[in-house]
Symmetry: C2
Subunit: 376 residues, 2 copies
C-alpha cells in the first residue's frame, strides 16, 4: 500500500473519534459500490434528497426524522456544517446586529468556530469545574438573560468528559426564554437513544463519521417544522435548491455508507445500557490501577477522561519522556491515546469487546509495573 | 447488494458529472483502506492539513499549490464550498453593505447559491446566445462598472456547453478594475492543464468528485498569497483552526482518495489534447447523424451540448414518448443522458475509449434508423 497504508487499521482503537465511526459490513459494501465521485448523481431528479433509488428520499424524509425524533431532517457534510447552517440562517435573518449564541463551556471547538463564522458572539455557560465539569441547567437561565441572545447550544454529551447534561431541562429553560436550542449530539446520535422530541429542543445535529458507522465527512441535521422555512429556505433563482445546503451536500459515497449502516446503527443504539455498563466497569478497573475518572460519576457514556498522576510521574523519568505511554501502547497494538499525553487523556470503550478491554487494562497494569521496577 | 446496487456501474457512462470522477486503481485501494469514519484523524497533530503521515501536509502545502499554480491551497468539501468560503469571507469583511458578484451567465447554479448564501447579489454577464453561448471578456468590463462589485467569477469551462472562455483576458480586465476573480474550474482541474498563475486570476476552485478521480464530496481551493489572511483567517479562540474551513474539511476517506488519485490525475491532464481531439471527432460523427453541437466551435472540451431535432421528432410518436431515448440507450448499457431528454442534452467523452465512443455512435445510428422505419 506504500504511504497510504493505514498503520492503525488492525489496532484496538480507543480514540473517541474512531470507535463509533467504524464501518459496518453493509457500509463496506456500499463503500466500494458507490466509491466513484458523484456516483449517486446518476439517479438524481434535481436534488440529492429527491433520489428515490437508492432510497435517499425515503431515508431523508421518513427514516431519519423518525430516528432523530424530529419533523424535518437533512444530511449534511458533518455536525459542524449542520451547526453552521443553523447559526448562519439565524444570523442572516436579522440584519446587522451583533448576536450571541449561548453554549456550554464543554462545547466542541467547532460549535464556537461555527458561531464565529456566522458572525455571532459566544457566551459560555460555565461548568462545575474539577473533577466533574458538569453543566448546571440553571446556569443557562442566567446566560439567556444576556442581551441579544439568538440561539443556545448544549453539547450532549461533550467530547472531553463524556458528560450527559440534562438537555431536557435546558430545553425547558430555553423555551421559557424564547431561545431556540441546538443539541450537538455528535457523540450521541448513532451510539445511544436520543430523540429531539423527547428532549423538547429545537435542533439536533449528529455526525456520521463520528457515531453512525459511516465514511466521512457526513452528518445529520434534525429540526422542528417551524424552523424549516428559515433553515432550508430555497434559492430565489433556483427554487429546488436549499441555500444553506448549497443545493446538495453529501453527494457521493458518504451518504451511501451512512444509509447502508443505518439498520445496524438502529440496532446498536438498543444496546446502549450494555455499553454504559462496560464503560463503568472499565473505569473502575482503571481507577484500581491508580488512575482517576473525571467527569460525571456514575458515568453515563463510553467517552471517558482520565487523570493519571502515576503515568505522569513515570513520564518524568522514562526514556522518551512523555511519549513512553504512546509507544508502550503502540507496541501492544492499542491506539487512541494521543502521543505525548500521560497525565490527562480521554478514550472510548464504544463497541470495543470485553476481551479487548481486559487486554487494555492488563496492558496498563503491565506498563505501570514495568516502570515501577525500572523507571528508565 | 439489495437496494444498494448501483445499476449503472457496468455501463458506459457519458454523464459529464461522472466521467472525470471515476476512481483510479490507487484511489480504490485508498477507499477501502481509509473508509472508516474519521480514519485520518488517528494521525492528527491538531488540524487536518498538518498531518504528516499520510502526507496530507505535503499534499496541501507543496503538491497542490504546484498543481494549481497558486501560492496557497486547501482541500474543501467541494467546489461550491470553496466558492462559498471565498464569497463569505469577502462579504463579512465589509459590514452590512449589499455587494455584488459579477459572474458569467453560463455559471453553475452553485455559484449563484454560494453568493446568495453569502448575502451577495449577482450580476450576470450575458453570453452570445444560440448557437455558441460564448462569453465575451469585454462584457465583464461593463459589468464591473456596476455599483458595489466585490468579486467576479468565471466558469472555466461551464457545465452546460463546455465553453472555455478567455479567462486570462477576463482576469486582466478584473485586475484593471481592482476586482478579484474566482475561476470555477470544476470541469478543468484534474481533466486539463490549468494554472492560476497562467490565467493571472486570484482564486481557483476544483472538484475532486467531478474531475479528480476521487470519492465525493471533496474539492480544492487555490489562491494568491495576498488573500490567504482573509480567506483563511484563524479563530480568535482556537488559533489553529481556520474559520471558513470550520476547522477541518475533508476529514476522512475523501481526502485520501483525492491524494491517491493525484499522480494518476497529474499524468492524465497531459493527454488533454488527445481528449479534445476525441471529443471533436465524436461531435463530428454526431453531426453526421443529424444532431447539432452547440457551444464553441471548434470545441475545446469533452463536455458537449447537442441539439437533436431528429430525436425530438421521433419522441413525438415513439412509444414512451420522450423517454424512448433513455430506454434505448439503457438497453445498450449506455448511461448519462438524462431520462426524458431528446431535443437538448449534454454528454462527456472524457476518458471514454474510442471503441466505446464508436459503439455509442453506432447505437445512436441504430436508434434513429429503427424509429425511421417504424415510428412507434
Amino acid at each position: 500500500m506504500g504511504f497510504y497504508e493505514r498503520t492503525t487499521k488492525g489496532f484496538i482503537n480507543i480514540d473517541p473519534l474512531q470507535t463509533g465511526g467504524k464501518l459496518s459490513e453493509e457500509a463496506k459494501k456500499a463503500l466500494t459500490e458507490w466509491g466513484d465521485g458523484y456516483s449517486v448523481c446518476d439517479f438524481c431528479p434535481g436534488t440529492l434528497d429527491k433520489i428515490k433509488t437508492p432510497p435517499i428520499y425515503n431515508f431523508i424524509y421518513e427514516e431519519l426524522p423518525d430516528f432523530l425524533g424530529c419533523d424535518v431532517a437533512r444530511v449534511t457534510n458533518g455536525a459542524r456544517e449542520g451547526k453552521f447552517a443553523i447559526m448562519h440562517a439565524f444570523s442572516t435573518s436579522f440584519e446587522c446586529e451583533r448576536k450571541i449564541v449561548v453554549m456550554d463551556s464543554n462545547a466542541h471547538y467547532s460549535s464556537y468556530v461555527a458561531a464565529e463564522r456566522a458572525g455571532l458572539g459566544v457566551f459560555f455557560v460555565p461548568n462545575s469545574g474539577y473533577p466533574e465539569f458538569k453543566i448546571d441547567p440553571e446556569a443557562y437561565s442566567m446566560a439567556l438573560d444576556e442581551k441579544d441572545v439568538v440561539l443556545a447550544l448544549i453539547t450532549y454529551p461533550d467530547g472531553n468528559y463524556g458528560n450527559l447534561p440534562d438537555a431536557r431541562k435546558i430545553a425547558k429553560i430555553c423555551r421559557k426564554k424564547g431561545v431556540p436550542l441546538i443539541v450537538n449530539a455528535a457523540y450521541a446520535v448513532g451510539r445511544m437513544p436520543v430523540k429531539l422530541e423527547e428532549l423538547k429542543a429545537d435542533f439536533i445535529v449528529g455526525s456520521g463519521h463520528k457515531s453512525m458507522a459511516s465514511a466521512g465527512p457526513v452528518g445529520v441535521l434534525g429540526m422542528k417544522e417551524e424552523f424549516a422555512d428559515l433553515i432550508l429556505r430555497k434559492s430565489e433563482k433556483f427554487p429546488a435548491k436549499e441555500v444553506e445546503m448549497l443545493g446538495c451536500t453529501a453527494r457521493g459515497v458518504t451518504i451511501m455508507t451512512l444509509m447502508a449502516s443505518f439498520p445496524y446503527v438502529k440496532e446498536r443504539v438498543k444496546r446502549w445500557e450494555y455499553e454504559v455498563e462496560k464503560a463503568r466497569k472499565f473505569a473502575e478497573m482503571m481507577e484500581e490501577l491508580g488512575m482517576k475518572l473525571l467527569g460525571e460519576k456514575p458515568h453515563n457514556h463510553d467517552l471517558m477522561f482520565f487523570e493519571a498522576e502515576n503515568l505522569y510521574e513515570i513520564s518524568k523519568k522514562a526514556k522518551g519522556g512523555r511519549f513512553f505511554l504512546y509507544r508502550e501502547l503502540k507496541k501492544r497494538r492499542i491506539h487512541g491515546i494521543k502521543a505525548g499525553l500521560t497525565r490527562h487523556f480521554k478514550l472510548s470503550t464504544y463497541g470495543v469487546g470485553e476481551d479487548d478491554l481486559e487486554y487494555i487494562i492488563s496492558s496498563f497494569k503491565e506498563i505501570i509495573s514495568k516502570y515501577k521496577q525500572n523507571p528508565k
